[in-house]
């Protein structure tokens, strides 16, 4: 039996109060094991990003428990959450979030900025893995959307985190590039990482091992 990487139990998230009260998540339960590639599917506003932010410790839940590799993320303070994120989470954003003045290699190396460790060898290996070894010195402006997203994925993998969270990673790229990215994600999952992809694209979801449906802040069955 594979080890559980993410365990979410009864997570609720409420924004605002009184008339402006919005329940983004109304009691979400889910589990993701190592080696699994799981899609969270739902229309925009369903709470996908909120759920990813809570799992990664960017936001705290109003209620419920979040456990990542045995660490209770919801009970950490801000500093602990930050350190937890550094070690355990690789985040891929919809809009790539690369720094325009840094080349592909430097963008991949960004998470190692304040550490003494020289990870350039590993960064080059990761660029090779995502098929961009020949483009390491290109600036994000010189890369296509799909290539930028693969650089962002390599950056997420730099510190070898056990959990990768991807928020609409294919939202801004064409289907060929999306297919390429999903193939890479499947390969990474095979190596034992847990991957959660938030998406509203059924094609992307169909290439994941398991699909969880999120609607109006609740999990609505599996596929």
């Amino acid at each position: 039996m594979k080890e559980s990487v993410v365990l979410v139990e009864g997570v609720k998230k409420v924004y605002g109060s009184g008339r402006k009260r919005v329940e983004a998540l109304r009691g979400v339960d889910m589990e993701v094991k190592g080696g699994e590639l799981v899609a969270i599917m739902g229309p925009s506003g369903a709470g996908k990003t909120t759920l990813l932010n809570i799992i990664s410790g960017i936001e705290a839940p109003t209620e419920g428990k979040v456990t990542v590799r045995g660490i209770r993320v919801d009970s950490l303070n801000e500093r602990e959450r930050r350190l937890f994120r550094r070690v355990n989470i690789g985040y891929v954003f919809q809009n790539y979030n690369l720094i325009p003045s840094l080349n592909a290699l430097e963008n991949v190396l960004l998470p190692s900025l304040f550490s003494e460790e020289d990870l350039s060898e590993r960064a080059m290996e990761l660029l090779k893995m995502v098929g961009l070894q020949g483009r390491w010195d290109h600036l994000p402006g010189e890369l296509s959307g799909g290539e930028r997203q693969r650089v962002a994925l390599a950056r997420a993998l730099l510190r070898n985190p056990p959990l990768i969270l991807a928020d609409e990673p294919t939202g801004n790229i064409d289907t060929t590039q999306a297919g390429k990215l999903m193939r890479i994600l499947r390969r990474i999952a095979r190596e034992g990482k847990a991957i959660i992809v938030a998406t509203h694209d059924p094609v992307v979801a169909s290439s994941c091992h398991r699909v969880l449906r999120l609607r109006d802040g609740k999990m609505g069955g599996r596929m």
């Binding site: 003045s101 840094l102 190396l109 900025l113 003494e116 460790e117 020289d118 080059m124």
Partner: protein, 183 residues
């Protein structure tokens, strides 16, 4: 194959940012230089204002300004009316320069910070502390400010010493008329 040897340090990050965002860097250096110039002007005005009453204690020491001021009669015996008028002009110019410098500096930093907000958010999401993010931004600001400061000083030195002296020599009639009418 890889040009960058060793770990990716904050210094490399700042260097890449300044070098590759050259249009922004040049704009920032330009704005900072102009503001530094204005601040230097304000400073030199207030020193010159001081020297109107105490010509022996000028900022520039043995520059053409001092003997010129002495020749023009800005010594202890200068009339209080003329002194007040001269000081007034100096102080108003200083205030205007200081204000313009402040507005320019503020707008330079606001423009730059608006453009960088996403970058700051990303660094925080990657797990960097506020202190680490601040180190990067302040480090870049310090490098740009130093470059601009040195540039401004090189422009300002000859400008204020020679142009200042020239302007004062041209303004002789104005000051002497003030001096003679009020005494």
């Amino acid at each position: 194959m890889v040009e960058e040897e060793g770990p990716f340090t904050p210094f490399k990050y700042i260097y890449a940012n300044i070098l590759r965002r050259s249009h922004m860097s040049v704009a920032m250096i330009g704005l900072l230089t102009v503001s530094s110039l204005l601040l230097l002007q304000a400073l030199s005005f207030s020193f010159e204002a001081g020297s109107a009453t105490r010509p022996e204690s000028t900022l520039w020491g043995e520059t053409p300004v001092k003997p010129l001021l002495e020749e023009m009669g800005f010594g202890e015996e200068i009339s209080s009316g003329a002194r007040r008028a001269t000081l007034g002009v100096f102080y108003i110019s200083s205030a205007v320069s200081l204000l313009s410098g402040y507005i320019l500096l503020r707008s330079a930093f606001t423009i730059s910070m608006k453009e960088r907000r996403r970058e700051v958010e990303l660094l925080k999401a990657l797990g960097f502390s506020r202190g680490e993010v601040a180190k990067l931004l302040v480090g870049e600001g310090v490098v740009l400010a130093l470059l601009s400061g040195v540039l401004a000083l090189f422009i300002a030195m000859p400008l204020f010493v020679n142009l200042g002296a020239y302007m004062i020599s041209r303004g002789e009639t104005f000051y002497t008329s003030l001096y003679s009418s009020s005494s």
